[in-house]
Structures are given as C-alpha cells and as structure tokens.
Symmetry: C3
Subunit: 272 residues, 3 copies
C-alpha cells in the first residue's frame, strides 16, 4: 500500500525539482510528451543525435527510450544514451511500442533490454510479453486483447529482465518481481489520445528522477496519471477536449484530488 | 448519388472493425493524423524503417503515403511499403504534399505514382495537376489559386494514373474517371489547421480499408470529414478551438448528423 | 518607440501577404509552429531534404532554422537552405535551442552563425550567451537562470554576430547593437507550452518577410506574440487550454488589443 500522501509527496518533488527528462521517442508523440512533462512539472528535452545523446543523458534525471518510430540511427542513439545513463546512475525507462507487430520491433526491443540496464519497462500486455519472448496477439501498436494473467506476466517480466515491469490496460500493474501493485485509476478516453501510453512512460521517468525507490515512484506515477485522466474526463465531449483537459489536470492535480481518487493497492504474491 | 445511410454504414464499419492504417507521413502532422484516425474509430500506426515497412503494410487495412517532409530514406520506405501493400491487396492512398513547389517533390510524386499501384491520390488542384504533369501555380505546400476546371482535372488525373483522384478545395471532387462526385461539405477553418488535408487522406485510407468500392469509400470519407468540420465550426473562436472540436466531432458524428448535412452529389459526365 | 498602429500595420501585412515561411525545425514543435504560423496569417512550409531546401528557401519570404533536435543531416540542410536564402535576399532567423547544453549543440550553433548571414537570432539568455561564447548556466533546453545584464548581452551579441539579437525571458530584448527595445508583454504560461519560443522565432520570420526594417519587425512580433499570450491567459485553467486559446488569439488579435496591451519601449544606450 502506498499512501496518497506519499504519492503526493513524490509529485510535489517533481514540481519542485523540475527534473530534466531526456526522451528519445517517436515522431508521433514528441509534442504531447513534452507538453505533458511540462504540465506535471518536469523539464523535457528531446535529443537524438549520436554526437550528443551521451552528454545529454549524463546530465538528465531520467532517460526515456521509445521505439514507436524506430530506425537504425535512433536505435544506435538509444544504445549510446542508455550506456551513458547506466554509467552515471541515471534511471532508464523503456517503452517497447509495437513489440510483436513486426520482427524488427520485437528484435530491437529485445536487444535494448539485453544491452542496457533498464530501470522500468512500460507497455501493454502484448508488448511486454513480446519483449520477454511470450507469444501474445498484437495489432499494430495497439494493445492486444490476448488472454492471460497480466499480474503473472508482470512478475515474470520483472524477474526475467531484472527490471520493474509496468503493464497498462484496463488496470495497470507494476512489479519488480517481489513487490507488485495494481492501479485502477484511469479512463478509457486515454486510448483515444495517441501517445497516452508514451507520455505515461515519460512521467514514470520524471517520478524515478526524484524518488530512488523506483517501484514506489512508478506506482505513484500510475496513480497520479490515472487520477488526472479521471478528472479530465468529467463532462467531456470527445477525445480532442479530453486531451486538453488532461494536460490541464496534470498541471493542477492536487493532494486533495489524489487523496480522493488514488486507487493503488499492493497485490499479494501468495497465490502466484 | 450516395445515400446518407450508405455513408453512415461505412463509417460504422470503420468504428466496428477499427482498421489498422499504416501511415508513412510527414513530421508536421503525425500527431494530428494519429488522433484524427483514433477519433474516427481507426487504429493508426506510423512505421518508417525500411526494416519493417513491408511487414507492417502487409498486415494493415490501408497504407497512406505522404511526402510532406520527404527525404531519400522515407521515399525508399514508401516504395518498399507500397510494393508490399500492392502485393497483398492493401489499398494505397497517396498525398503528394507540395508537388510543384520544388523539382524534388514533383519528381518524387511522379515516381511514386509510376512505381506503385495507387488506389487513390488526394491533393489540392495544384498538387494533383503537378503529379500528372499539368502546370498549375503553387506556393509552398498551400493550394494554388490557379484557374481551370477542377472536375475535368480530376477525371483526367484518374484516367491517366488509373486511380481515384480526390481533389480538395472549396468543393471536393472524387473521380475514378467513370464516376465522379462533388462534395460541398467542409468549413474554411480547415485551411487554418495544419494537416487537415493530410488527415483527410488518412481517413480515406480508413474508409477504403473497410469498403472495397473505393470510389464510394472515398466519397463517403469526404462527406463525413466535411460534415464533422461544419459541426466543429459552430460557435468557435479560432483555429485552436476548431482543431479540438473537429477531433471531438470525428468521434461523435452520428447518422443523424450525416443525414442532415451530407452534401455529396454525382456529377454527370455528359458535358465533359 | 514603436507605435501600436505601426505594430498592427505589420501584422496586417502578414495577414494580407501570407508570406511563405520555410522552417527547418525540430520534431517536437513542427505541428505547433505550423498551426501558429497559420493562425497569425502566414503560410508555413517544412522542408528538410538536401535535394530541395535550396529551392524552397529561394521562394520563401523567410527561412527559420532551429536546432532543437539537430542531427548531421539537418544541419547540412540548414546550411544549404541558409546559403540559398542569403543569396536571394531572404531573411534567415536562427533559434539556437539548447546551445550550451551539449558541446555538439554549442559548436553547431556557432558554426551556423559563422557560415551564414543571420538576420536575427532568437533564444533565451543562456542560449544566446553560448552562441557568442559567453558562459551561462543552462539546463537541458530550458532557459538558464544565470545572472547578468540581459540588455548588455543582447547588444554585445548583436554587434559580435552582426545580427539582430532577440533574447526572451521574463522580459524580451531586441537589439541590432544600435537600437534596442524591451518588450514586457507575455505570460508565464508560455513556459508551460513546448515550442512557445520556437514558434516566436518563426513568427519573427513571418514579420521579417513583410517588413524590411528587421529590428522593427522583430520588436513588433514580440509585442503581438506577448499580447496574444496575455489575452489567452485570461480565465484559463491550465497549459492545455492556454495553448489552444493562444492559437485562437494569434488568429483574432486586433488593432484594439494591440493598442491596449502593447508594452514595447526603446532602451537608451547612454548607460551601456
């Protein structure tokens, strides 16, 4: 169990410290990611050139790698940045967008988790399953509807990759293999805004930049993000307005909101 | 004549089947395109790497190629993806952004229509004219104000390229050379939102993914898109709000709305 | 002193002439930049390929270079476009995003101002300082809080680079080394919208495209931009809504608004 006041304390630390979050991400979500990070209080930077990524990752509070529109050059930059982050103790958050949709994505995702020490991997069930070599249905970069026990998958992925696994969907799971949380915050309109998952990965980066208990930081990020989505969805007409209200609520979400809304619970491992 | 209920039926099929639309598009409009496709009910994916575009195009319901910020690498990817789509019967929609503005754009656009079987090409009059080698004034990537008979141009382009030509402007024309429609839906604020044309091209892709009568699918897409724009423009303060309301209305537009607004008519070829 | 009616006259000229502004900019801000330029009345084009940038820059009213997500290929394109613009008398506006954050950015920024004739450079104090080789604290691509006399820095940068220096922050300075203005328009929510600085650079481009007194054009752009931000901030809930209202207000801002809000003053050089 993570108390709402603990969640809020991490959020306030983000707002106070304004951690630099270095993103190497896809071309679809760069703007939304940067605006979302600014709204939550972080300081986003996008830098992709092999000439500078190691320098930028070194001074960042967190590095976020996202393969949504990967190419050879970007993957090379991700590895350079990741190694620099690993060397300097900067947490690395990985978003394996579309792993499983093409062989190239699956293999690249597996290469990244093999060559780098990943602090946390965030994806839908199909993506995370494909990173760990489980078969799972996937269509494009949208979440698959495959069956299976998501909690079990998260625990397995965390152990196998020696990382924190964050699996998002109707309910979100975060696990380091030992401690596991389930978060029931969120709203289905998030699935109608491109990059909602990608931005969450970057927000996890911002939280990990200020809180070294990374499982706790990741879980807190889920609760804040999902609660902001719930606030944003009130009285909304469609995904256009929702996207704007969501940015507003990432900016304004308060300790009070979190106290009322947070739906984060620890999951017992007894039956796994 | 296409009945409003036929138009609505195709829209509902998009919403139900959520076709995967693979876009190789320009860096300006990726986010808006993805959000617009999500709003209308489709499932967008952007994938550009030569290592994966053939695989992605193969599993897509439609492939959309857009040269708005073309470069050598992207054009190579477009050709690889396009050949894969052609081989697997996936419709290919082409947006020759800025054809005529520079020699490189014109030549690339002509190369794409030559090397690939294009299901539909969507552009303003100047762009389509330049693809078929007609001279037409153009400034940057905005539509030219050149004179000429747009309907005649559409019919000519359709025949010459053996494709469906969709020419958009104050009025939109769609023709396969035999059957031609004119659509009077739309709102001038669309010209103040970057990527409004590009997103339309992708929406045509989504409609062609679920309706194999591609002329009908393209015409229906124009009517839905333009009607959503009319709904979005009601009481709006400027292009910022319009963009958001437009996304809302792509999401919420109903059979009733289409019944009331659709302004799609067949054009007689008698006088051409 | 620049009279509000002079400022408005330049704005009206942008709206009437719709100058083509060719941007080679970063992947984070392309959409917002294009929408902002459309809102203010200009005609944006993004073109990056070495095969076409010289052709596009030649026909543009202004060229805007922005190194926010620079790489080797883009920098090469910037130099080709810049040389073409220089040759054809097209003003070149430069935004050295993140200069000082990494060695690669600093060196590239310095290379660009060395190899091209830059009409105006727009950045925060840290960025401009790093372009002219002054040390200044900087974190990522956000403005540094280093001390120092911003006005003095602007005058120095203008003289050293033989350009117009535009330094933005709580107050904005524009100087060609001889004439210097301070603009107090703006709103702090601009710092919560990614690309607010980048779009300003492009708007300066649009103003310089229609007004050959470039210092006057740049100062007018600051006043219009900052005034639109003030209008947009009224009664706003957060940065999401602000971004949308800002686009609305760039579109609707009137002579009356400028008359009431413009806070642009000439700075005496006596004490420098």
């Amino acid at each position: 169990m993570i108390e709402p006041k603990t969640i809020d304390a991490i959020l306030e630390k983000v707002r106070k410290e304004k951690p630099l979050v270095h993103n190497i991400t896809n071309v679809v979500v760069t703007n939304f990611t940067a605006n979302g990070l600014l709204a939550i209080g972080a300081s986003p930077v996008m830098a992709y050139a092999k000439e500078e990524v190691a320098d930028m990752a070194k001074i960042a509070g967190a590095l976020v790698l996202n393969i949504g529109t990967l190419n050879e050059e970007n993957v090379e930059a991700m590895l350079l940045a990741g190694k620099s982050a690993n060397k300097h103790g900067v947490p690395v958050i990985f978003d394996p967008v579309g792993a499983g949709a093409t062989k190239y994505r699956t293999e690249t995702a597996q290469k990244i988790v093999k060559e780098l020490e990943i602090t946390a991997v965030r994806g839908n069930a199909a993506e995370v399953a494909n990173v760990v070599g489980e078969s799972w249905s996937i269509k494009g970069v949208d979440s698959g509807d495959g069956e299976g026990d998501i909690i079990e998958l998260a625990v397995k992925a965390a152990k196998q990759l020696n990382t924190i696994a964050v699996i998002t969907g109707k309910q979100d799971i975060v696990s380091d293999g030992e401690t596991t949380y389930i978060c029931k915050n969120g709203n289905s309109l998030l699935t109608k805004v491109t990059g909602a998952g990608c931005l969450l990965t970057s927000v996890i980066g911002a939280f990990c930049a200020v809180e070294k208990d990374y499982v706790r930081a990741s879980a807190a990020a889920l609760a804040v993000y999902g609660s902001a989505a719930e606030l944003a969805a009130e009285g909304i007409e469609g995904p256009g307005s929702f996207q704007i209200e969501f940015l507003n609520n990432l900016y304004t979400i308060s300790a009070d909101n979190i106290q009322k809304l947070s739906a984060l619970e620890e999951v017992s491992h007894v039956n796994l």
